[in-house]
């Protein structure tokens, strides 16, 4: 069996999750404390991938990143990046596609903390960033974990957007979900079954892990 698609899938999910974590903490923090008029617009944009078919996003990325369009040309000339049919393109698309899965848990975690906690830190002379890293984030570990795991799992489950923007290049953009489709197309059911079974087991384990941690089962067992 060819393991490359699976390895590629996990590389993609890992990189996407790391980037999302870095982006989503400030974004969620801003959404929680802002009184800006633009908040609903930003919130809508973050949530759009939840309702849109992935092919729609993929289609627009394809248009935007195309080396024939201004943005695509600019990217290629100034940054030397080609996003279409490349692994980098997959990462960019996955980050946007999985954004709500990371932002939402962190946002609801932060807003569920009593405001007196951060106010107490401000009165003690602590800056906003010190308060965020020493008080707010350590008290929403469960939300952070949920965000990390959901974003990771959701990236593994991508199909439409990956197919649109990444195509099907072996060793470069052919992730597990595409490989399954490919094997089925060529009536190679045994290979498709192997990939699928691995994904089923892994997804089950990942989600089970989240529920166990967040339900406090581990704490109860270890006490």
């Amino acid at each position: 069996m060819n393991w490359t698609p699976l390895i590629l899938t996990f590389q993609l999910a890992l990189i996407t999750t790391l980037i999302l974590l870095v982006i989503s903490i400030p974004l969620a923090y801003w959404l929680v404390q802002t009184k800006s008029r633009f908040k609903p617009i930003i919130e809508t944009l973050v949530s759009m991938p939840l309702v849109l078919p992935p092919t729609v996003l993929g289609f627009y990325f394809l248009i935007a990143f195309s080396p024939k369009n201004t943005f695509g040309i600019w990217l290629n000339e100034y940054l030397g990046i080609q996003l279409i049919f490349s692994f980098t393109g997959l990462v960019v698309a996955s980050v946007i596609y999985s954004l709500p899965f990371m932002v939402h848990p962190i946002q609801s975690g932060l807003s569920s903390l009593p405001s007196s906690l951060s106010e107490a830190a401000f009165v003690m002379g602590k800056s906003r960033s010190s308060t965020l890293f020493h008080i707010q984030l350590p008290n929403i570990k469960a939300s952070l974990l949920t965000g990390i795991v959901l974003a990771f799992a959701h990236t593994i489950g991508e199909f439409g957007i990956v197919l649109m923007i990444g195509g099907n290049i072996s060793g470069k953009t052919k992730v597990a979900s595409i490989a399954i489709y490919d094997e089925v197309e060529s009536l190679n059911y045994a290979a498709a079954n192997k990939y699928s079974a691995i994904l089923v087991v892994l997804s089950f384990c990942i989600l089970l892990f989240v529920y166990i941690i967040n339900g406090g089962y581990l704490k109860r067992f270890w006490k």
């Binding site: 106010e119 003690m124 002379g125």
Partner: protein, 293 residues
Amino acid sequence: MIKLDINKKLDGTLGEMVLELSYTIPKGQLLTIYGESGAGKTSTLRMISGLLKPDQGMIQVDNTVWFDKNRKINLPPQKRNVGFVFQDYALFPNMTVKKNLTFASKNKKNLTYVTDIIDLMELGDLQNKTPINLSGGQQQRVALARALVQQPQILLLDEPLSALDSKIRFKLQDYLLKVHKEFNLTTILISHDIAEIIKLSDWVLILKEGKIINQGNPSQIFINKNISGKFRFTGDVLKIEAQETLYIVTVLIQSNVVEIVAQASEILGLNIGDKVMVASETFDPIIYKINRQ
């Protein structure tokens, strides 16, 4: 000294109201703000600490201006050196008691002050516990200790004892008095408990719908006359019994039940559950030594 002259439009539970306060708190005073909920008590503390911005006016502490609308001065809470004990205590759940205190301490290199406060507040046995494992009274002591570790000029207490049962309350009131005097603080307390106010405060402001409607020495305010008695205790009326020409009023003072003989004129308007002050002026008290067993 805290000079307050603040004006703020608030959205209270009873609709919009304007909080208008103009008052100067002398250095070292323990001031209580008393009033119904929604009168603007907590908002006042929040404005002093910088967590809420007044619409108009100024706040000056000693010679430093903390807020001045006209001169566009508004020091952030981080720069105001205020100790704030929140109603919900706001202890950091991810830190032990000791970590809560060291985090609040401004001088990270010299933690002797933190250990001094731990001793003073008798927190030695609790210092490695997390807040979730503490009782209400213990959490309150930690919250007070944490506010003191910052070495503030001003201590703001938002109903710090309201969630505690009376026995722990009395003990914590003593702690409050002790630290107020020991650290020479200017303290502003919000309280609903008249006995507590009479016991603790030098001066009381009564707020109603954002305005000061009355102020004075607590016994003047709540008892309406000056009592010069040598003994004064406050308590709750448990029972009023008529006995021929006199009445026996049973009063709960701290945890003791006391019976007091009263005349018809004294019990006029007195009901069960009322707060009363018991004072004695005419006879000398007797002292007995209690022999330890």
